[in-house]
């Protein structure tokens, strides 16, 4: 049986008496792009945080690549990249050091860093990769 890449069933999250996410069910196959639309407070970020395992005490089922997030959190996290709405960078590292650090967290090899060079070129960051992030980007306001 081929598993869905992401399967959410009756996902619910409450903060006290307020229900932020109410029985959301989604099934997604590989290659699909799915967007959440809604006004502030609709529960979009909360849903994404639950998928990234940043929200505890939730109700419902999250299955990523055929394994339940509750049963195999490490496996599910290894399959998942998460970009938060508020970015955090280690500003004293250079761009190259930061990318090396992230690659090492995922136990990836030098092929990953070669792939990074391609994106650095695309985003016009190749010339900045050896500068400290704080110097290159300025101090973060958030």
């Amino acid at each position: 049986m081929q598993h869905k890449l992401l399967h959410i069933e009756q996902l619910t999250k409450s903060f006290g008496s307020f229900t932020a996410v109410d029985k959301v069910s989604i099934q997604l196959k590989g290659g699909e792009i799915y967007g959440f639309l809604g006004p502030n407070g609709a529960g979009k970020t909360t849903t994404i945080k639950m998928l990234a395992a940043f929200c505890s005490r939730r109700r419902g089922t999250i299955v990523i690549c055929g394994k339940r997030l509750n049963d195999s959190p490490l496996f599910c996290k290894k399959q998942t990249d998460y970009i938060p709405d508020r970015l955090f960078l280690y500003e004293k590292l250079t761009g190259a050091e930061y990318l090396g650090f992230i690659a090492s967290l995922y136990a990836n090899d030098s092929a990953t860093l070669r792939e990074a060079e391609q994106y650095l070129e695309l985003f016009d960051l190749a010339g900045w990769q050896n500068n400290a992030i704080l110097t290159a980007c300025g101090k973060s306001s958030s």
Binding site: G35, D81, F123
Partner: protein, 75 residues
Amino acid sequence: MRQKLIMTSILMLNQSLLLSDEPMIGLDTKSARIRKKAVGGDVQPGAKQAGQHFTPPPQPRRTTRSSWPLPSARG
């Protein structure tokens, strides 16, 4: 530039599932296009992303019959 660096760190990993909250925030037009192309182009069988944009496109301003023309212009 922060967003671009983080985007690079994410795209290089090429994970199965990409969760992106406010995927276009902090990107200039060119980078936003590159990002869309990179994610779309890199989608392999078994890869997908979930993202959200909560900024709606600008809506045309509605003018009701009772409020137009403005009282000062009615004479």
